[in-house]
């Protein structure tokens, strides 16, 4: 089985986000980038599948700050190939990203056969027109499902049996012929932890491949009028003071509502 995983860097939302001077984009200077959560799960699922069913895992990322560290970490976790697509990709949007990824298969850098499984994150939090996975599936003419939380492979029948989430803990089981494109929401096990020392040593022995792909025609996205912060302060009454003061006030509030007895 040849598994290809696309990895995306997104701003860490635990950090403060600052809107840039144009009022229409984020101030990139102040951003700290990290691997998108679902992508970490997509990688984990790929490595789990490789361990169970054999085959290879290739991870692919577009050039971005801190991306090499992420690619080496993926190698340390069990990926066999790490590919970087060099270029200045600022402003590129989901439909063009999907075209770029598709050309990786048409250029011969990656095979697309009945043994290929393509994993992406189900959805990243950073863009209006997200969901590169279904676009990519359209271009490749491959079946697609999103919000996937588990995969089994039936290599003989060349199909994947996947679990997809609905709501309220309800899930559904589906079968897709390969090659297929899946948007991973969560791996069946938590992403493994890799000690920094192991990543360091991989950095010495492994190499990140670069594949030059001519950028697709950049179609401009929707006109953004403005970015703004939601009025967070609007609702909550903030309690202040020492731990003891805050606790006392909370107990008062609960007692007033009969939520805490003596």
């Amino acid at each position: 089985m040849d598994i290809v995983v696309f990895l995306k860097m997104v701003p860490d939302v635990v950090e403060e986000l600052v809107i840039g001077e144009d009022g229409k984009s984020l101030d990139t200077q102040s951003l700290r980038m990290r691997l998108s959560d679902p992508d970490e799960h997509a990688l984990e699922e790929a490595v789990i599948l490789k361990e169970k069913f054999g085959g290879t895992v290739a991870v692919v990322a577009m050039e971005a700050p801190e991306v090499e560290e992420v690619l080496f970490t993926a190698r340390a976790k069990g990926a066999d190939r790490a590919v970087k697509l060099p270029g200045d990709w600022t402003g590129i949007q989901a439909p063009a990203i999907a075209k770029l990824f598709a050309s990786l298969f048409s250029s011969g850098s990656q095979q697309l056969t009945a043994h290929t499984l393509i994993l992406l994150g189900s959805q990243a939090i950073d863009d209006l027109e997200g969901e590169v996975a279904p676009y990519l599936a359209e271009i490749l003419g491959a079946p697609y499902l999103g919000v996937v939380t588990g995969i089994r492979l039936d290599e003989e029948k060349k199909k994947a049996i996947v679990m997809k989430e609905f709501a309220g803990g309800l899930r559904g089981e589906f079968e897709l012929p390969l090659p297929a494109v899946l948007g991973i929401q969560a791996a069946e096990k938590p992403p493994r932890y890799i000690p920094v020392a192991k990543v360091r040593s991989i950095m010495k022995s492994a190499r990140i491949e670069t594949v030059e792909i001519s950028p697709p025609e950049i179609v401009s996205g929707l006109p953004v009028d403005r970015l703004f912060m939601p009025e967070v302060a609007g609702k909550a009454e903030m309690l202040e003071g020492s731990a003891a003061e805050v606790s006392a006030r909370m107990i008062e509030i609960l007692a007033e509502r009969g939520l805490i007895g003596r």
Partner: protein
């Protein structure tokens, strides 16, 4: 006069989903503002009863077909494309839910129309449609315009009141006769949620932990707090995905919807997918180190502090209060 607006009705196991009414409500308003007809379409198997509840739309199209039991995004996108071309629709509303993921982008790709995700508000100004989308887990909002009022919009659940989409009017139903393409994807079965040790939807008091709890060992302290309060512990998705608590404790889009009398959240950022599952709780109190965390936007009381600084004291004070 604007071209028609179409709502893709969502349903699961024979029940119409709230998101459908949310979309019908805002769709009605949009249609009136733009002087356009509002259409709704239902694809499914044995689905006519669902369609009868959608009288707020000017026309309800129904395609009842054995192959549409749990159709794949491909099949739905293909049917929508045909319908949109036949009826000259310019604007399509689709639920931003797990059930409907993928349909919007596929449709936008095939029709070459823009796709807008995470939509929380829609309005008409000077005859143009504007949209507000929520990004970065609810920390940033973005206003965009739809050129020519044409596009495919994924509506975020909980953004509009469902009641505005309900009506006693008898639905004007038109049965469709469209060819349903054979899907490459086969639906095997539903997998029911595992029954947990406790049912968090039945608790009056919930203490909710998020990624701010940092590791599995710290859950014990939260269990103790829940114990002294007489409640149970629930969690955001990352805590569940890490395996620190069972799936039955997950609150939010993919997990449970809870409405306890008290929801005390610790180190939860308040991403839209989490808020969806807890916003209607009676009293919401949140502790978070980040003063701009979106959770404070839905909380009644907030404490901007390190949860580890507050918790030991809080537990002791509650014990003292109860014994006093």
């Amino acid at each position: 006069m604007q071209e028609p607006i179409l709502v893709l009705a969502e349903h699961l196991r024979g029940a119409i989903a709230d998101i459908t009414y949310e979309m019908l409500g805002v769709g009605r308003k949009l249609a009136d503002d733009l002087k356009a007809p509002l259409y709704s379409v239902v694809f499914g198997k044995d689905i006519v009863p669902v369609a009868s509840h959608m009288g707020i739309a000017d026309s309800v199209f129904v395609l009842d077909h054995p192959q549409l039991d749990m159709p794949s995004p491909d099949v739905v996108a293909a049917l929508l494309k045909t319908l949109i071309e036949q009826k000259n629709v310019s604007l399509v509303l689709i639920g931003g839910t797990n059930v409907s993921t993928g349909i919007g982008p596929k449709l936008s790709f095939r029709l070459n129309l823009p796709f807008v995700n995470f939509c929380r508000n829609i309005w008409v100004k000077d005859g143009s449609v504007g949209l507000t989308s929520q990004l970065f887990g609810g920390k940033i909002l973005s206003d965009v315009r739809l050129p020519g009022n044409r596009g495919v919009v994924s509506v975020y659940p909980g953004s509009f009141p469902p009641d505005a989409g309900k009506s006693d009017r008898k639905a004007s139903i038109e049965m469709l006769d469209l060819r349903v393409e054979e899907s490459k994807i086969i639906f095997n079965k539903y997998i029911e949620p595992e029954a947990g040790d406790i049912d968090i939807t039945k608790q009056d008091i919930l203490v909710s932990v998020g990624r701010g709890i940092a590791n599995a060992d710290n859950i014990a302290m939260v269990e103790e707090l829940a114990n002294v309060l007489g409640g149970a512990v629930c969690a955001s998705r990352p805590v569940i995905d890490q395996g620190w608590l069972p799936l039955s404790r997950q609150v939010g889009k993919s997990g449970m919807t809870v409405k306890p009398k008290l929801y005390l959240s610790l180190g939860v950022s308040g991403a839209p997918e989490h808020v969806e599952g807890m916003k209607d709780s009676g009293l919401i109190i949140s502790i978070n180190t980040d003063s701009s965390a979106p959770i404070f936007g839905v909380s009644h009381y907030g404490i901007c502090a390190d949860l580890f600084d507050i918790l030991p004291t809080l537990i002791e004070e509650i014990k003292t209060h109860k014994s006093g």
